[in-house]
Symmetry: C2
Subunit: 239 residues, 2 copies
DNA sequence: CGTCGTGTTGACATCTCTCAACGTACGTGG
DNA sequence: CCACGTACGTTGAGAGATGTCAACACGACG
């Protein structure tokens, strides 16, 4: 639902009725993808951007030796290739993880917004700055955190973002990832991710089974991850 | 010089005379910092953004166990905390590496630009998208590249960006970093960085001595790094 | 009923880290 | 001018975290 985006923005700043209407009217249609489909290919020229309505998406880069690095996970409410509006193509790939529905927003519409809606433009710009802040935490994870802290931090991030999107029931959330996905996101092997998940489970911190994460000891999880949600800028300010 | 920013933007899109004049008039003053000084502290409220005129700056996050992760390096022409305009504070720190001069642009001026200069706004937004693309490459490096490839990729990135900024003489550039800085950027120890630099030197690929990088075999360096400059979006397009 | 994708576990390998020692350059104070 | 401390770089030896390889379990699905 596009209402997920409105909620996400409204949490960070006031949105007036006119701005809500402009956003509601932005999509020119929707599109569906099955699981594990390419959505945007590296280098492909783009003329529209996608707002994720349902399902999970990831960005990734493949290396020459077959290794893959996932760069970010996206959930409903995320404007998944808004960058493409100004970059004109992406230097990485985007793929569905689960079955996915997106709303298509033509770049001409985005251009119109940037010409006529300065406040809305700032809010859209802002959402891309949050993506960059998430990237920075992943740099820290992959660079300096231990394997168990990387997994824990990713789970804390997803927990917090899914809660903002209204997709968490408080202590558990649906997460259609494989252990290999988590490995490619955290720069580990799926075998080692499996071991770290077992440690977290054995220690009563969290479980990840059948596509569902259940957090059984949130303070312990945040402590292992050294998680501080400040980087998600969840408070409202005039922007 | 603010002309570095104009060049950086003009390489990605046309800038008209009026827009150049607006940018030239944006700074309300300049400020200098000695080497290794804090420039912006995590969480500090911001009311102006800084355009780097001279010297090198880094963003970083410190972890509880004393480890540090550098998130990005900045060079003259970079609008180093433009994000602060919309984020209102940063979740990481910024520090000078060398002596530094910055131009100060009040957020009120940036707000005026976003209200009245849609094209210039898109270009400023664009520069923050480049930062995010750089972040993504660092995620890949720290997550999936070997130690030698991480060092090589960082050097390729700096070489390319410094060339765009007019701060490279073609095969060598001034780089006032310590091996510990490179270690904190690449998620390695300074001892291992030292070993990797020795390998690159012994193999005739590049040297880093006395604050100067000299690339002696560029194809070999790019090959080790698997470096593709596409992520820096160096071509001009209407944006 | 076989195959494939995914998860699980153990044994061993290896890359990078840790610890330690030492060299050099430079500034500072006696 | 010399003595000393500090920052940075260099090298070696051993340790440890994570990767690699291999085997097997299980369910989904054609």
């Amino acid at each position: 639902m596009i209402v997920n985006l409105l909620n996400k923005l409204a949490r960070r700043d006031m949105l007036d009725e006119h701005e809500r209407a402009v956003l509601m009217a932005a999509p020119a249609g929707t599109k569906q993808f099955g699981p594990r489909r390419n959505i945007v290919r590296q280098g492909e020229p783009l003329t529209q951007s996608m707002l994720l309505l349902d399902g999970f998406v990831c960005r990734y880069i493949d290396l020459a030796d077959g290794k893959r690095q996932i760069l970010e996970f996206h959930m409903p409410g995320d404007f998944i290739d808004l960058q493409g509006f100004l970059l004109k193509s992406l230097e990485h790939n985007m793929a569905s993880v689960s079955p996915v529905t997106v709303a298509l927003v033509p770049h001409t519409t985005l251009r119109h917004i940037t010409e006529n809606e300065p406040h809305l433009t700032r809010l859209l710009w802002f959402t891309t700055l949050i993506d960059a802040a998430i990237h920075r935490q992943w740099i820290v994870s992959n660079g300096r955190r231990s394997a168990i802290a990387r997994v824990a931090h990713l789970m804390c991030e997803l927990d917090t973002r899914l809660d903002v999107a209204g997709l968490s029931d408080g202590n558990s959330f649906f997460l259609p990832f494989t252990q290999a996905d988590i490995a490619d996101a955290t720069g580990l092997t799926s075998i080692h991710v499996n071991r770290m998940l077992r440690v977290l489970r054995d220690d009563g911190v969290m479980t990840f089974r059948d596509g569902r994460v259940t957090i059984t000891n949130r303070p312990a999880l945040a402590d292992i991850a050294e998680f501080d949600p400040a980087y998600l800028y969840l408070h409202s300010e005039p922007r």
